[in-house]
């Protein structure tokens, strides 16, 4: 069955319209504004579930497609407003629409400074993020990709902590510098389509552009810079801990849950299919950086004193599985001569992205709950929280275990698939990646021990009050999602199969 109305445009523009409406309402209408924000994001989520309902898992083609003229200067610049989703982008859009209402609920009474503008920033950000995942035109993608930085820049810069200026500038410069190289590559690819006779910024047309190996390598490296910063991969990761520490809770959640996924998405949508031969010579680089992320960052996370920093480093380590899983294909081809395991690696990477979105989001919410009460993120400022906040402690322990990859939570699924797939390529990949079982448990549960367990450490902890209904709803919903995905991941993988199969086919067909 097909939808007769442009669902993707609605998903993009509805939250943006809501955001503009919030700005128009201004700070005087903030009580009404909150409800507008909640209603908008909830309706957006509701509509987005139709994507799943009407999704056809039997094809790798783009679905819910829309195409309108956007920029048309013949011979100079042709770009279309072209949207569509496949099995890779659809789950990520659902993740976005699922997390945003929770952010709105979590911020309900917490933000005191200009709340209307705060909500507006999140709503506009949501629309832009959905747009990034839905865009099929590279220029449109790029515009949305960069536009997305602005609301996040504002969120951290205005509602952030004391070092917010340093953090925002670092965040902005890092991601912006990376993206500029991507823009150059996109322009180059556009020129190539023109040379072939049909100027186009459509990503699908880029797939067919013939490129020699050296060109591919240059373009690949340009994309790598853009996406590696976003993921972030070692050694371009240091903006993330700073950004997280300074960001307000909602900002951290969106950053960790969704914005980091843009990098992983970019690898799958751009790097692999456009330059399929370059990773054949450069996959060692990505794989090494991924494994460094898992092991090196795992050790670094262990010694963090700031809870948000610890979770930020944990995010980097977990995202290492995404890049590792995505780039196994070529190694598998050269070791075994077939692509067995490639699909498992990519699907594992996808699941890891969704799962990390839920778990890291939940962990940042948990830190937010404590921060709202005590105004400290330092591990040393806590101890024995379970005595005064038993319900919160139950949630925190659940999410911590999920973060350490406990089976029956979503955290296990992706890591397991990537480890199993990487074993096919090389024993040592699986060995190093598998260390996360120990390191992940060590840094997460050691934090739990020092924050949650123990006797009441100080007066602040003694006077804590347990979760209120609002917080309970947010963490409860996330807990259900984490468990559901861990107990029965099959439906989520179902929608990916065809797309991933097709992707493996594309990237193993040489362009040379």
């Amino acid at each position: 069955m097909e939808l007769t109305w442009p669902i993707l445009s609605v998903l993009i523009w509805l939250p943006i319209a809501g955001g503009v409406a919030m700005l128009a309402l201004g700070e005087r209408g903030v009580v009404l504004g909150r409800w507008v924000a909640l209603l908008t994001t909830a309706v957006t989520f509701g509509i987005s579930t139709l994507l799943w309902v009407y999704f056809d898992s039997s094809t790798a083609l783009m679905q819910f497609g829309e195409e309108r003229a956007w920029i048309d200067i013949p011979g100079t610049l042709v770009s279309t407003y072209s949207l569509g989703v496949d099995g890779i982008s659809m789950p990520l859009i659902l993740l976005t629409t699922f997390i945003t209402p929770l952010v709105v609920i979590a911020s309900w009474t917490v933000i005191e400074k200009k709340p209307a503008q705060y909500y507006a920033a999140f709503l506009i950000l949501e629309g832009l993020m959905i747009g990034v995942f839905a865009a099929l035109d590279a220029l449109l993608f790029y515009v949305l990709w960069e536009a997305m930085l602005i609301p996040m820049f504002i969120i951290i810069g205005i509602w952030g902590g004391p070092r917010r200026v340093y953090a925002t500038i670092k965040f902005f410069l890092y991601t912006f510098l990376g993206s500029v190289l991507m823009l150059v590559s996109l322009i180059y690819l556009y020129q190539q389509t023109c040379n072939a006779g049909q100027c186009s910024y459509l990503i699908a047309d880029f797939y067919d552009v013939p490129l020699d190996l050296n060109t591919q390598i240059v373009i690949f490296l340009a994309f790598l810079t853009a996406f590696a910063v976003k993921v972030p991969m070692w050694p371009v990761h240091t903006w993330l801990p700073d950004a997280h520490v300074e960001a307000p809770t909602g900002g951290s959640v969106i950053l960790a849950a969704i914005m980091l996924k843009m990098g992983g998405y970019g690898f799958l949508r751009f790097s692999l299919p456009i330059t399929p031969d370059a990773p054949g010579t450069l996959d060692w680089l990505v794989i090494s950086l991924s494994l460094i992320a898992v092991v090196y960052i795992g050790f670094v996370a262990l010694v963090q004193q700031d809870m948000k920093k610890l979770i930020a480093y944990s995010s980097i380590a977990h995202m290492g599985f995404v890049t590792l899983g995505s780039f196994l294909t070529f190694e598998l081809m050269s070791v075994n001569g077939d692509t067995r395991g490639a699909a498992m690696g990519i699907e594992g990477a996808m699941v890891q992205m969704i799962s990390h979105g839920l778990i890291s989001g939940a962990l940042f919410f948990c830190v937010g709950v404590l921060y709202d009460r005590v105004h400290s993120r330092e591990i040393n400022a806590y101890g024995g929280v379970v005595n005064t906040m038993p319900i919160f402690a139950a949630f925190a322990v659940l999410f911590a275990l999920a973060n350490s990859g406990l089976p029956a939570t979503s955290g296990f699924v992706g890591e397991f698939l990537v480890i199993v797939a990487s074993f096919r390529a090389d024993f040592w990949y699986a060995f190093l990646a598998g260390l996360t079982l120990i390191l992940g448990a060590a840094y997460t549960l050691w934090m739990v021990k020092r924050v949650i367990f123990g006797a009441v450490a100080n007066d602040n902890v003694a006077t804590l009050t347990d979760l209120n209904a609002r917080e309970f709803v947010v963490l409860g919903v996330l807990a259900l999602a984490v468990l559901a995905l861990g107990l029965w991941p099959a439906p989520m993988l179902e929608v990916m199969h065809k797309t991933v199969e097709n992707l493996v086919q594309t990237i193993t067909t040489p362009k040379l």
Binding site: K170, Y174, P235, T238, W239, Y296, F299, V300, A301, L302, V303, Q304, R340, G341, A342, A343, M344, E347, G348, G384, V386, N387, V397, L401, S404, L406, P407, A408, F412, V413, F416, L417, I419, V420, A421, S422, F423, R424, F427, A430, F431, G434, L435, L437, I438, A441, A442, L445, W446, K449, I452, F453, G454, A455, W488, P489, A490, L493, E494, H497
Partner: protein
């Protein structure tokens, strides 16, 4: 035909009870919590016994079916499903029976604890996880159950979360187990690599494919693929079943409440590794290197961990070291290919060790939460039921002929004696000498606790007292199988082909077949025992304990002084904890700090990021000097520039 609905009820009843008691604990209250969980486990036990009956008496075929598909990726179907054969049914019945006893016992033991409902919820959740583990028909669900029991163990060791020692112990337990799980996951990945499947039946069917392959992990060294697979899997077993060098968590796990020490850290969870290796017998059989490794690790654990029991004064820790040692016995059995013997010892051990722990718990209640045996003595007359049941547990543990422990342990020792593997002689002497050690520490415990002079100071109100019936009833229930289960079942289970296809042994490794030649019924076997050394070693151990702890109580101190180096080594548990603390705990924190301070902060942030910012700042600082604002500066620069250009044009 076994019905799926019955099997589902067996696992889901405790899960349901755990959820009700856990989430609705405040609503249903204490009585509600223990009623619902006990009902759940009782239902599970009843149906497990029924399933066992059907398999054994009615001869229904093995059940192997999937419940639902967890996911499909790369054409590999990962499922949740049940395999119920004779091995599984035995485990199910043992697990649910001990769990039921512990549930009832908990009513008495945790009577005054504010976490009453939470505790019942956890132990029911544990029962669910353990059942999922043993009933699995594939590696994935096995790993699910494996990790799930680990988590419940983590939660229960840290049950009294305000105690610093408890939350240290539970973190340690989880992390050490994770080291084992790390190996386990690699083993599973290897299996998927070679067979493209996670189902036992498919994997076992393709075992020759694995055996025919080799693998290069280090360049230039070819290893048999089967050896790699089996050793990886066995590392998992070493973590969960606390084998040296991954044993360090088990003694510390005694920080948890005593009922779970009995259920999880003696009778069931720690035997998961033994069960797993037995389940994987078709694979282990094909790698003698792996079997030798298993023998070596098991024998080392059996003997050296037993020694530690001799010097400890904490009643629970002595039993914990005994558990380590007995797990070593089972592991030795596995290594000698006497899988059935290992499982048989697992079963008898589950009864008598759970009994010993629960009896120790009863003593602890009676002594008002005193665990130090030096402050006990003479409790026999105050706690007769506890005394007699503890004595029954101890005689079973030291394998007094006729008791359940005798049949399982003596046959294991005989079986190892028949093995021809390279490690077999070492293993044989270890387990044989271990008999003396076992008898010595067991009766040291009995004498120090129940006999001799009363070393506690109690007024009228704080006299030791016998525990309530909810505590003593499980003791009696467990004492019965501790005494008789061996006699009743040994012939059928070990020599009657009970396990059928569940356990595979190559004819060349079939040591139990040799033992069978000497076995002509349990009564004859008891008589036969007096022709071997084990029974005399056990008697010597008891005598030595009696002499040192009843007759000449001044001697142990003198011996400790005379052999102070040895004593220190034992008292410090061979310094494993200190070593791990220094190398792994402090080491990884050191590595983390170094990577963070040097890598992230100094090099990446200081050098690359802020460094490039500084370079930009410095350059613009330089360039700023050019923008002086004086007209003659600019004119001068123009003149120089023009002349340079001209010169270039003219001279090129």
């Amino acid at each position: 035909m076994l019905q799926e609905s019955i099997l589902l009820t067996i696992v889901l009843a405790p899960l349901f009870a755990a959820i009700v008691a856990g989430l609705g604990g405040r609503v249903i209250g204490r009585a509600g919590a223990h009623s619902v969980t006990i009902a759940g486990v009782a239902l599970s036990f009843g149906l497990s016994a029924y399933v066992l009956w059907q398999l054994v008496m009615d001869g229904v075929p093995t059940y192997d079916g999937s419940v639902y598909t967890w996911l499909v990726s790369d054409g590999i179907r990962m499922e949740v499903g049940f395999l119920v054969d004779h091995l599984t049914a035995l485990m199910m019945t043992v697990v649910t029976f001990v769990s039921l006893c512990v549930h009832v016992y908990t009513i008495g033991y945790m009577h005054d604890d504010p976490g009453y409902q939470r505790f019942f919820s956890y132990i029911s959740l544990f029962t669910f996880s353990m059942l999922m583990l043993v009933m699995s028909n594939n590696f994935l669900q096995l790993f699910f159950g494996w990790e799930a029991v680990g988590v419940v163990s983590y939660l229960l060791i840290g049950f009294w979360y305000t105690r610093p020692t408890a939350i240290f112990a539970n973190l340690k337990a989880f992390l050490v187990n994770r080291v084992g799980d790390f190996g386990f996951v690699l083993g599973i990945a290897a299996i998927v690599y070679y067979t493209n499947s996670l189902d036992y039946s498919t994997v076992f069917g393709l075992r020759d494919v694995i055996a025919a392959d080799t693998m290069q992990i280090f360049p230039g060294v070819e290893w048999q693929a089967m050896t790699v697979v089996c050793i990886c899997l066995f590392i998992g077993a070493m973590g969960k079943s606390a084998q040296v060098p991954l044993h360090v968590w088990l003694p510390d796990s005694m920080e948890g409440p005593t009922p779970i020490s009995a259920l999880i850290h003696a009778a069931t969870m720690v035997t998961a590794g033994i069960f797993m290796v037995a389940r994987m017998s078709p694979l282990f059989e094909l790698s003698e290197t792996a079997l030798n490794t298993v023998l070596f690790i098991g024998a080392t654990t059996a003997f050296f961990m037993g020694l530690l029991g001799i010097v400890n004064n904490d009643i629970k820790r002595v039993i914990a070291y005994s558990t380590l040692s007995q797990l070593g016995y089972m592991t030795v059995g596995l290594g000698a290919s006497a899988y059935a013997g290992a499982i048989f010892h697992l079963m008898t051990h589950a009864f008598f060790k759970a009994l010993l722990f629960l009896a120790a718990g009863s003593v602890i209640i009676g002594m008002h939460h005193e665990q130090d045996m030096r402050k006990m003595g003479g409790l026999k007359k105050y706690m007769p039921i506890t005394y007699w049941t503890a004595l029954i547990g101890s005689v079973a543990l030291i394998a007094v002929p006729g008791t359940s422990g005798f049949f399982s342990k003596d046959i294991l020792i005989d079986a190892v004696g028949e093995s021809h593997l390279a490690m077999a002689p070492y293993a044989y002497w270890s387990v044989l000498l271990g008999v003396f050690v076992t008898a010595f520490y067991s009766f040291r415990l009995v004498f120090m606790t129940f006999h001799g002079e009363e070393r506690f100071h109690a007024d009228e109100h704080h006299k030791p007292h016998e525990s309530p019936w909810v505590v003593t009833l499980p003791l009696i229930l467990l004492a019965i199988p501790s005494l008789v289960i061996g006699w009743l079942t040994v012939e059928r289970v070990l020599f009657g082909g009970y396990f059928g296809n569940a356990i595979a042994v190559l004819p060349a490794h079939d040591v139990l077949e040799h033992v069978k030649e000497e076995f002509h019924g349990p009564a004859q076997f008891v008589v036969h025992a007096f022709t071997g050394p084990a029974v005399y070693l056990a008697a010597a151990g008891v005598l030595a304990a009696w002499y040192l702890y009843i007759k000449r109580t001044d001697l142990p101190g003198q011996i400790a002084e005379r052999l102070s180096a040895l004593y220190k080594l034992l008292a410090n548990k061979f310094y494993f904890d200190e070593l791990y603390q220094a190398v792994f705990a402090r080491g990884s924190r050191g590595v983390g700090t170094a990577l963070w301070r040097v890598g992230d902060v100094a090099l990446i942030d200081g050098g690359m990021v802020n460094g490039s910012a500084r370079v930009v700042g410095w350059l613009s600082g330089l360039l700023r000097h050019l923008q002086s604002g004086y007209l003659y500066h600019y004119a001068f620069a123009m003149v120089i520039g023009l002349s340079a250009l001209l010169a270039w044009y003219v001279l090129r």
